[in-house]
């Protein structure tokens, strides 16, 4: 494999597409903040606490999306040994952990004024989400272990697929265990929302999605460059050892 010299390697991960996406995220965030705080009406029961929905629900949806992509990438690694998919799975897992953490945090903050509790260990939605979060932290821990890259990719893919079993359980828990959960049913599919509340919520989902794509592009490119660097270092080391072997051989002949 030929690897470009360090001086020839890209020094950044940006492109026209990523710049446009980045600008779209910034513009979308400004619109989301304005609509979320000043445009959307307060709720009759929850008053201003309802505004957390504009962060909480998009974060939850992107958690599902990101970990689903990780699961697909893991299957493709195990099936095709595709490094491209392995890098996608890794990057998406990192973003998924961020979104999942944000979901848990905003849900807890939202729960205190509305449910009267930050957390309930008996609630199926809350606990299954926490388990998903911990499993994906475990996935990232496996990825950070040293050793053979192929073995690490395989081990982490297995962890990702174990975690993926939990995804539909988290999503459907409020339907399957409706009499065991404080958590309300889906706001988007079953909820009754004011028009501007719904619009702002959908805007949040769009902004979070664009952010995910933007961050994935950069994370993938960083991951690819890191890999190229590791492979380049290995090639360089092999060349050096061969040169040493040649030198030793020439010295022995004299």
């Amino acid at each position: 494999m030929t690897t470009p010299a360090i001086s020839e390697a890209p020094v950044h991960t940006r492109s026209t597409t990523s710049r446009l996406l980045g600008v779209a995220v910034l513009v979308g965030l400004v619109a989301l903040v304005v609509l979320g705080f000043f445009g959307a009406p307060e709720d009759d029961e929850q008053a201003d606490a309802v505004r957390l929905i504009f962060v909480h629900v998009p974060s939850a949806l992107l958690t599902y999306a990101a970990f689903s992509v990780t699961a697909v990438g893991s299957v493709m690694w195990l099936w095709k040994r595709s490094v491209w998919w392995d890098l996608v799975a890794h990057g998406s897992a990192e973003l998924g952990v961020i979104f999942c953490g944000l979901t848990l945090f905003t849900g807890s903050v939202w729960g205190r004024p509305t449910w009267n509790t930050y957390w309930d260990w008996g609630d199926v939605r809350l606990v299954t989400t926490l388990i998903l979060f911990l499993l994906m932290i475990g996935y990232l821990a496996v990825r950070s272990m040293g050793g053979d890259e192929s073995a690490i990719a395989t081990r982490s893919a297995i962890v990702a697929l174990i975690a993926a079993v939990n995804l539909p359980i988290v999503n459907r828990s409020v339907e399957w265990w409706f009499d065991r959960t404080l958590h309300q049913k889906s706001s988007l599919t079953d909820g009754n929302l004011e028009d501007l509340t719904l619009f702002t919520l959908l805007l949040g989902v769009v902004v979070w999605s664009i952010f995910y794509v933007w961050a994935m592009i950069h994370r993938f490119r960083v991951g690819w460059l890191e890999r190229e660097l590791r492979v380049g270092d290995l090639d360089l080391a092999i060349e050096q050892r061969r040169a040493e072997a040649h030198a030793a051989g020439d010295g022995g002949d004299q």
Partner: protein, 181 residues
């Protein structure tokens, strides 16, 4: 072959840390899976609706359990028993009412017709609270010390909200009938 790599130094023994980490991760994953199954099979938040709690009163005895129902507006009275805040009210569900004595502050969103989830147990007798309007008035009350509000997924801003709710929800219909009786 001169092109072969020169012999390498023996690989250093694996550090204890590198042995412990995979084991710790494997145990964590296993614990997470066990925790998931345990939670799904025996979710401790399982609650009885008011009508189910009344139906199973003999079976439940003085066992601690979780109860769900909608507070009946005209029954809500707040006060103190010594230094402890007490909220006395009734909840309804499925055409049955349960009288409640809640020890502690009510939840921020506690209000008529918004379902509450309460932890407590059945007590037979009179709670000894004056000025209460028991809807069930069957010689039993539910002594609660933890209250959570189970709000729905309606996010509405409506000046006529109370009127709309009263017209649309069976719980509110029950409340109006019970209060007028």
């Amino acid at each position: 072959m001169t092109d072969d790599l020169a012999p390498q130094q023996p690989r250093p023994a694996r550090s204890p840390r590198r042995k412990i980490l995979p084991a710790a991760i494997a145990i964590s994953v296993l614990a997470a899976v066990v925790g998931l199954v345990w939670n799904l099979v025996g979710g401790s938040l399982f609650f009885y609706n008011a009508n189910e709690a009344v139906e199973r009163r003999a079976e439940l005895g003085d066992e601690r359990f979780t109860l769900q129902g909608s507070p009946v507006g005209c029954s809500i009275t707040e006060g103190f028993q010594g230094d402890v805040p007490v909220v006395v009210f009734s909840v309804s569900f499925g055409g049955e009412a349960v009288d409640i004595v809640h020890f502690g502050d009510p939840a921020d969103l506690f209000q008529p017709d918004v379902p509450v989830v309460l932890d407590g147990y059945w007590v037979q007798g009179d709670p000894g609270v004056v000025d209460r309007t028991p809807i069930a008035d069957d010689g039993w009350y539910f002594a609660s010390d933890r209250m959570r509000v189970k709000h729905d997924n309606d996010y509405i801003n409506d000046d006529d909200y109370d009127e709309r709710l009263a017209e649309s929800e069976a719980a509110a219909e029950f409340a109006s009938e019970a209060c007028s009786a």
